[in-house]
Amino acid sequence: MEIISNVNDGILYVKLSGDIDHHSAKTVRDCVDNLIRKNNPAELELDLSSIEFMDSSGLGLVLGRYKKQTDMGGKMKIINPTKRVLQILQLAGVEKIIKIERIRQA
C-alpha cells in the first residue's frame, strides 16, 4: 500500500495505491487521520485510481474518513475510482452521500 499526499489551498489530496482490505485499512486510516489532524483541510480529495483491490473494509475506511471530515466541518470527495471500486461504492450507496469525480489525467 502506497500513500501519496499534498496540501494546496486548504485541499488535502490523498492518493492510495494497492490493496485495501481489513489488514491494510488500519495503516491507511492512521495515516489519513494524521494528515487530516495536521492540516485541518477544508476539503479531502481521496484518489482511488490506483486501487488494485478493495473490499468492504475499504468502504468502512471511506465512510469513516467522510464522517471525520464532515464532523470537523470539512468536505470530502472521491476522485477517479476504478471500475471495480466504483461498483463496490455504488453497492453501498456511497455516491449518494459522497461526491465522486472523474478527472481526466494528463
Binding site: 482490505d21 481489513h22 489488514h23 483491490f53 473490499d55 468492504s56 473494509s57 468502504l59 469513516g64 453497492l91
Partner: protein
C-alpha cells in the same frame, strides 16, 4: 398409459480442489484470496469473475478474523490450543462452476438472517460498513451460511465461470 418421465440429473464431477488452513491473522486475508484465485485461474475466468471471487473470499475470511475470533490472534501456539484457525476449501467442477468453503471455529453468529442484512454491523467505531455479506451475495451466484453460536461459522459460495470463447 401415462408415460413416466424420469428426470436424470447429471451429477457434476470435481476436477480439481485445494484444502488449506491458516491462522486468523489479518495478513492472511490476501493469502486466502490468492489461494482461491490461483485455483480458479485454471478455468480461465474473466477479470471481473476473478475479482468477484477474490472479494467474496476476502469478505468471508475477514469475518472469521474480526467476528469469529474477535481480532484476537496471539500466536501460532494459541491457534493450535484454542482455535483461531481458518479452513479454506475450493474446488471446480466439470460444468465450469466453482465452490468455496470458508470455515472458522469461532464464536458463531446468533442470528444469521440479521447479520446478512445490508449495513448491519455490531461495530460501533464506524469503521466497518456492514456490507460484507451483501457484497458476497452480489458477487457470487449462491451463498449459504451455517453458524452455531460457540462453535463457529461456515460460509459456502458457488459461482459459474463463463467458458472461454
Amino acid at each position: 398409459m401415462k408415460k413416466e418421465i424420469k428426470k436424470i440429473k447429471k451429477k457434476r464431477v470435481i476436477l480439481n480442489q485445494i484444502k488449506s488452513s491458516f491462522p486468523a491473522k489479518s495478513i492472511n486475508e490476501s493469502l486466502s484470496r490468492m489461494i482461491a484465485a490461483s485455483l480458479v485461474c485454471q478455468l480461465d475466468p474473466t477479470i471481473d469473475e476473478l475479482a468477484d471471487i477474490k472479494t467474496a473470499v476476502s469478505e468471508a475470511v475477514t469475518n472469521c478474523i474480526v467476528h469469529g475470533y474477535g481480532n484476537n490472534y496471539k500466536s501460532i501456539s494459541s491457534v493450535n490450543k484454542s482455535g483461531g484457525e481458518i479452513n479454506l476449501y475450493a474446488c471446480y467442477y466439470d460444468d465450469n462452476s466453482i465452490k468455496i468453503i470458508i470455515k472458522d471455529k469461532g464464536k458463531g453468529i446468533e442470528d444469521v438472517k440479521k447479520a446478512m442484512q445490508p449495513l448491519y454491523t455490531t461495530d460501533e467505531s464506524g469503521e466497518r460498513s456492514g456490507m460484507g455479506f451483501s457484497i458476497m451475495q452480489s458477487f457470487m451466484d449462491k451463498i449459504r451460511v451455517i453458524s452455531n453460536p460457540g462453535k463457529g461459522t461456515t460460509v459456502i459460495f458457488e459461482k459459474k465461470i463463463s467458458r472461454p470463447v
